[in-house]
């Protein structure tokens, strides 16, 4: 039956697909927003902006990869270190994913899952962060890349979606604690970032048992950030990584300067085009929020927004700043890694989860972060072929580059989920004993770790509740009015 639906869909969508990714997504996003009750002009505005953002992001990827590929290849030839994948960071990956019509399909499924879970009281989170639905959608696309099995891809997206909504509720008291938010503040997030919490919690528990004395050596994160100054900003990172790649590739001084400034331009432009792209999805986000919110009138809900509200905590940035050079050095020596960190070097796919689990204990965040970095590099390396292929399919990757040249993201959010998706995709496409055992084993371990983590978070949340009750209870003396 699913095959029939796919065939029927292909008959309708093939002429659209033949138009190319940008025009196709213009039409699909506009139509989807209209269905969600958005006014035609607003829906069309979003559709056009998405097409413009897709086209723009393709151009910036072209600038960066064209400039860096020659030097990266020379670097590989000179050193024998296989770091041939260009790290384009999160924004191009988001754009590429939003360039696929499957993303709208997975978005629709997850909106339905959110509403069903709300109706059944399985979550209190109303997710209005529509833009970031691209993360679970990419997991579905990974499975489709390997297996072309929409049913399994959808099941996995739903599985991750359900756990994300549960996790969002579990983290809410910690957000209140970290940001001094009052109980009635509804802010939470369902971001895929935080699905790394269970593994971090495992390390944090080991830290609690054996290394807790190190906590007293914590330092002031805001002071450190202040000292780092502009060196942590996008253009600076692009510049000195351009110099780094140029030196390793033994380029001339002129070429090294050109690489430095091209790196800086690309990183700045990724951000700017990324913001166009987010504003493209804005009318649809508002439409879906209206659609969902009016179905739960009077219900006290948490509201799931994008993670950057945690950016108020200086520890998140200080950890990212400290981890950046470690990531760069690690990438040179880590077996199985092929990415040289560039646009993703400030690991915002990792540090928000470290902040939530370690609750701002800097040394823990850094030490555990170091152990997490290889997972990101391996996962980024593993997804590079499909990211590159998908980018080519949506017209966001230059055709003139060497066929061995690939793009990916060195600190892509949800690295573990990406690996599990690859294992599932491979098991579905080639179901032998080994591949099935790997996939089932990985999925079971993932779920068991999440269940253990959920238990730990429930204990943490009970303590928060007790503390709040203690704090709000009047003291006996005060109650008698004698103070």
């Amino acid at each position: 039956m699913l095959d029939g639906i796919v065939k029927f869909s292909n008959t309708i969508f093939q002429p659209l697909i033949d138009l190319g990714s940008a025009p196709m997504m213009l039409i699909l996003l506009t139509l989807f927003a209209l269905i969600m009750g958005v006014k035609f002009s607003k829906a069309l505005e979003g559709g056009i902006k998405l097409a413009v953002a897709l086209t723009g992001m393709g151009m910036v990827i072209n600038i960066l990869t064209s400039a860096f590929s020659k030097s990266l290849q020379a670097f590989v030839a000179n050193t024998g270190i296989q770091l041939s994948i260009t790290d384009v960071g999160w924004a191009p990956l988001a754009t590429i994913t939003w360039g696929s019509p499957y993303t709208l399909f997975f978005l629709l499924i997850l909106v339905i899952i959110n509403m069903v879970m709300l109706a059944l009281n399985k979550t209190n989170t109303l997710d209005v962060d529509i833009f970031n639905f691209w993360h679970p959608a990419l997991l579905g696309i990974i499975i489709l890349y390997f297996s072309n099995n929409l049913f399994v891809a959808t099941l996995f997206v739903v599985f991750i979606g359900v756990l994300k909504f549960i996790n969002s509720d579990l983290m809410k008291p910690t957000f209140n604690d970290l940001l001094n938010m009052p109980e009635q503040n509804p802010t939470t997030t369902t971001h895929l970032n935080f699905m790394l919490n269970p593994i971090i919690m495992l390390f944090d528990t080991i830290f609690d048992k054996f290394f807790y004395k190190l906590d007293k050596y914590d330092f002031n994160a805001a002071e450190l950030n202040k000292k780092i100054g502009f060196w942590g900003s996008k253009f600076a990172i692009g510049s000195y990584l351009g110099v780094f790649v140029g030196l390793l590739g033994q380029q001339s001084v002129t070429e090294i300067f050109a690489l430095a400034f091209t790196g800086a331009v690309s990183l700045e432009l990724f951000s700017i085009v990324g913001s166009w792209f987010i504003s493209a999805v804005e009318p649809l986000s508002q439409g879906i929020t209206n659609f969902m919110a009016k179905r739960f009138p009077g219900r006290k809900l948490f509201i799931g927004i994008d993670w950057p509200f945690l950016g108020a905590r200086a520890e998140m940035w200080a950890t990212a700043n400290v981890l950046a050079p470690i990531l760069l050095i690690m990438s040179l020596f880590l077996p199985g890694n092929a990415i040289l960190p560039l646009a993703g070097i400030i690991a915002i796919g990792l540090t928000p989860a470290l902040l939530v689990v370690c609750r701002g204990k800097m040394l823990r965040m850094i030490i555990i972060g170091v152990f997490m970095l290889p997972i990101f590099l391996w996962s980024g390396t593993m997804i590079a072929p499909l990211v590159t292929d998908t980018a080519q399919n949506v017209g966001a990757f230059p055709s003139g580059l060497e066929s061995s040249q690939m793009i990916s993201h060195s600190t892509k959010e949800g690295p573990v989920e990406g690996m599990v998706a690859i294992l599932i995709g491979k098991a579905v496409s080639n179901p032998n004993a080994k591949s099935v055992v790997y996939a089932v084993g990985a999925l079971s371990a993932y779920l068991m770790l999440f269940i253990w983590y959920a238990g730990k978070m429930k204990v943490r949340n009970r303590i928060y509740l007790e503390e709040n009750e203690d704090a709000s209870a009047p003291t006996p003396v005060a109650a008698k009015g004698t103070l």
Binding site: N180, I278, F309, G311
Partner: protein, 101 residues
């Protein structure tokens, strides 16, 4: 022209949503407002000095005392208009209290 600095963790999503909403709503209320959206990490004292009001999602520790009025703008991100109104009211009050133009 009243200059407002919006900030978030990545400088591309939440802060832009705050910037756009503030510019639209304050224009509706008759104020000449221009907002910029940046990454929290990139804010320094020199940058802050160029603005009249700071509108983060929640107030960050920047390693220096923030010298301008702060209006926390997180509720704008909920996309539910009634929840954002107190933020705009607070912004309007701040503008009036500080005689900003």
């Amino acid at each position: 022209m009243i200059k407002i600095l919006a900030a978030c963790g990545a400088g591309v999503n939440s802060s832009h949503q705050i910037k756009d909403s503030i510019e639209t709503e304050m224009a509706n209320r008759g104020y000449n407002v221009q907002a910029d959206a940046v990454v929290v990490k990139d804010i320094n004292e020199e940058m802050m000095a160029k603005y009249d009001i700071f509108t983060p999602i929640s107030t960050p520790d920047l390693g220096f005392t923030i010298p301008i009025p702060i209006v926390e703008a997180g509720p704008i991100l909920y996309r539910i208009p009634v929840m954002a109104i107190p933020v705009f009211d607070e912004l309007e009050k701040t503008i009036k209290d500080n005689n900003l133009q």
